[in-house]
């Protein structure tokens, strides 16, 4: 039963990562691409981490899974914000240079 639940979690996590990679290639704009990539880091990886924790089901793995999930959810918005800010500055300087 545990292996079935783990397989379902892993299948959906890998599926969402694949969908966000397709979005990374197909979308036309930087902001749309960032919108697609956020799905992979937040939703797909969360499903994979929960699946791994359910599969091993020991205290240390659950604590590590909680640590990684909290860290990803805290730092993904910071990284996205930093990328968008640098892109805005980059665009402004390019238009001023020309």
């Amino acid at each position: 039963m545990t292996t079935l639940i783990t397989t379902i979690f892993f299948f959906f996590g890998a599926f969402f990562i694949l969908v966000s990679a397709i979005g990374l290639v197909r979308f036309p704009d930087l902001y749309a691409r960032m919108h697609a990539v956020t799905k992979a880091t937040s939703f797909g990886l969360l499903l994979l981490i929960i699946g791994t924790a359910i599969f091993f089901n020991t205290g240390a793995v659950w604590i590590k899974a909680l640590l990684v999930a909290v860290f990803i959810y805290l730092t993904a918005p910071l990284a996205s914000h930093s990328i968008a800010q640098s892109d805005k500055k980059w665009e402004k300087e390019e238009s001023e240079g020309n």
Partner: protein, 89 residues
């Protein structure tokens, strides 16, 4: 502890490999440098997913530590490159 058969893990590895190839294509092609940073972030996520799947495949929980380290290093790398771009004249 029972193990998952390799046949169940095969499509998961296939999907992750395809996602890695698509992100790598975007990293090679990306018109702006910020697109490349986004693709690099995506590649770090796909690598973390690969290592989680591999830890299920070989049935060892010690591989979870690699995921912690990659999540730390990927965040620091993304912030470092974008801060460098922000301060560049």
């Amino acid at each position: 502890m029972e193990t998952i058969s390799n046949i169940a893990l095969l499509p998961i590895f296939g999907m992750l490999l395809l996602a890695f190839l698509l992100a790598f294509f975007r990293m090679l092609k990306g018109p702006e440098i910020t697109d490349r940073i986004v693709a690099m972030d995506m590649i770090a996520s796909v690598t973390m997913a690969f290592i989680l799947s591999y830890s299920i495949l070989v049935n060892k929980a010690i591989y979870f530590d690699i995921v912690i380290v990659i999540s730390l290093i990927s965040f620091i790398g993304t912030v470092a490159v974008s801060t460098y771009l922000k301060q560049k004249k």
